[in-house]
């Protein structure tokens, strides 16, 4: 009898304590209605406090770039605050420079909305939307690169600049219990605004690329967010040099096709670096483009071709090949997309050839 009474007492006390915790949470964490003021009144709206700023903004259809979905592991969701929200958290510190901290820049996923807030974001983010899209075609390009073609369902069209990127929101699969978001450059033309094409290289063990390569099927629906990014054609430059490796080809493809479509009076040279012939893709597409346009030159280069490749094109590291071609950098701009190692090495080559850093734009992995 005493055992039953003891168990009952402990259960009763536990229940009372749990109820108190729930009630305390509701009372203490009830921040009520808070006003969000973006860019000094450009956009103001009321939200219910208590969630992080990133998700609070997303629920009001303001999408700040984020690749990790609010886990403070990507450092992309920076916003400048005009309100005081307390000290920078240890989780934010690795992603913020001293200048950013002084300017009250914070990771929006780490800022809890507890009162009305003023914040500043680039105006372009007002145009970012969430899209429902259907996979219409998956094409294998190389041993580890696939092209994904999406048809937009709702909204049915998107406005973006060639070179920008979108975020793919995955669904839980296999042992992956949560959705994740990852950024991929758009490889299709902005004029084809009812479809989006991206190029994804499989990262061994990567959560999103494994989903894309091994689980996604034609006909599946996904959410996409975007467009984001400042890697697009800038003013000036009579000669434009494009350099890419791997899936870095994606934004370059969109930019090259867009420039040629607009018949801009510019000379374009596109260097694509790979190790062997089996790492090349879109060769026929760009070779045809080269033949059709006097102002476009396509230079694929292999750093270590197999004998069986019977390769007659350029041989060497992409930096060596670029160095051989680029001698006069007058009125030139360069657009680079690839691994940090490749980009750093190419920047050194271009600067050595006389190109100023201000004329080099890059989109680093």
């Amino acid at each position: 009898m005493s055992i039953v009474l003891t168990v009952f007492s402990v259960s009763l006390i536990s229940t009372i304590l749990a109820t108190l915790v729930v009630l305390a949470d509701k009372v203490l964490n009830n921040y009520g209605e808070c006003e969000i003021d973006i860019n000094d009144g450009d956009k103001t709206f009321m939200v219910t406090g208590g969630s992080n700023l990133l998700s609070t903004l997303a629920s009001s259809r303001i999408y700040i770039p984020s690749a990790c979905g609010g886990k403070a592991t990507c450092g992309l969701c920076k916003v400048r605050l005009g309100s005081e929200v307390g000290a920078v958290l240890p989780t934010e510190e690795p992603y913020l420079t001293k200048e950013e901290i002084d300017a009250n820049v914070r990771l929006s996923c780490q800022v809890k909305v507890k009162s009305s807030l003023k914040l500043y974001i680039p105006e372009e983010l007002f145009n970012v939307r969430e899209y429902k899209a259907k996979i219409v075609r998956i094409t294998r390009m190389t041993r580890d690169i696939k092209e994904f073609q999406f048809a937009l369902v709702n909204p049915a069209s998107v406005a973006f600049k060639a070179g920008q990127y979108i975020q793919v929101v995955t669904k839980p699969y296999a042992n992956i219990k949560e959705s994740v978001m990852r950024a991929y450059s758009i490889s299709s033309l902005p004029t084809n605004n009812q479809e989006l094409e991206i190029i994804v290289r499989l990262v061994p063990g990567g959560v999103c690329t494994t989903f894309m390569h091994e689980y996604l099927q034609e006909g599946d629906e996904l959410s996409l967010r975007g467009p984001f990014g400042e890697f697009y054609l800038h003013e000036g430059g009579d000669t434009l040099v494009f350099i890419a490796g791997g899936s870095g080809l994606a934004p370059i493809k969109s930019m090259v096709f867009d420039i040629l479509r607009q018949k801009l009076d510019k000379k374009l040279i596109f260097f694509f670096g790979a190790v062997t012939k089996q790492d090349l893709y879109y060769v026929d597409l760009f070779t045809k483009l080269d033949a059709e346009h006097d102002n476009f030159q396509y230079v694929p280069a292999l750093s270590q071709p197999d004998i069986s490749d019977e390769w007659e094109g350029e041989i060497g590291l992409i930096t060596e090949v670029v160095g051989r071609y680029i001698t006069d950098t007058a009125d030139m701009q360069a657009y680079l997309c690839g691994s940090p190692g490749m980009i750093d090495a190419c920047i050194r080559v271009l600067e050595k050839a006389g190109l100023s850093q201000a004329d080099i734009y890059y989109d680093e992995f």
Binding site: T73, P94, R201, P204, G245
Partner: protein, 154 residues
Amino acid sequence: MRQDPRLQMIENNMHQGVLATYGFLGSDTRSLADVLQADQIAVHDLGTDHRALATKMRSFTAAGLKALGVPVTVNRLYQVTVEEFKGSIPCPFGDNYQARKVLTQVSSPTKTLYWSDLNLHMIEEHGFYEGIGARYRIDPRAIAELLEEEADRR
């Protein structure tokens, strides 16, 4: 071995699908504390330490990175290929370290080992070589054997 709550939280981050598709523990049924202790003993028995092993491994990665994906020969014995992939991955130990997705493959005449930038960091800072059966598990004895091949040639 009894595991403190902080280590238990880290172990939770290491399961499949939390930070990486395949996780960091593989089929290992031991606690994280036991995994760390076993490898600590193995490294001690080898007469070296985690930092020294990681430093040697890092030198291979650095040599391969310069070659932009092309295999290079290091010390006239090892064939090294480094591939860079898009994105980064956080260290499961919660130290705010973001590892770039860089994979190094080192082949000697007798064996081939793979490691990621995150492996290098976790070995160097946490003495963690991943659980048995994990995709990027590197047995410290295998690293030592790989390095000894060069010493044996001298």
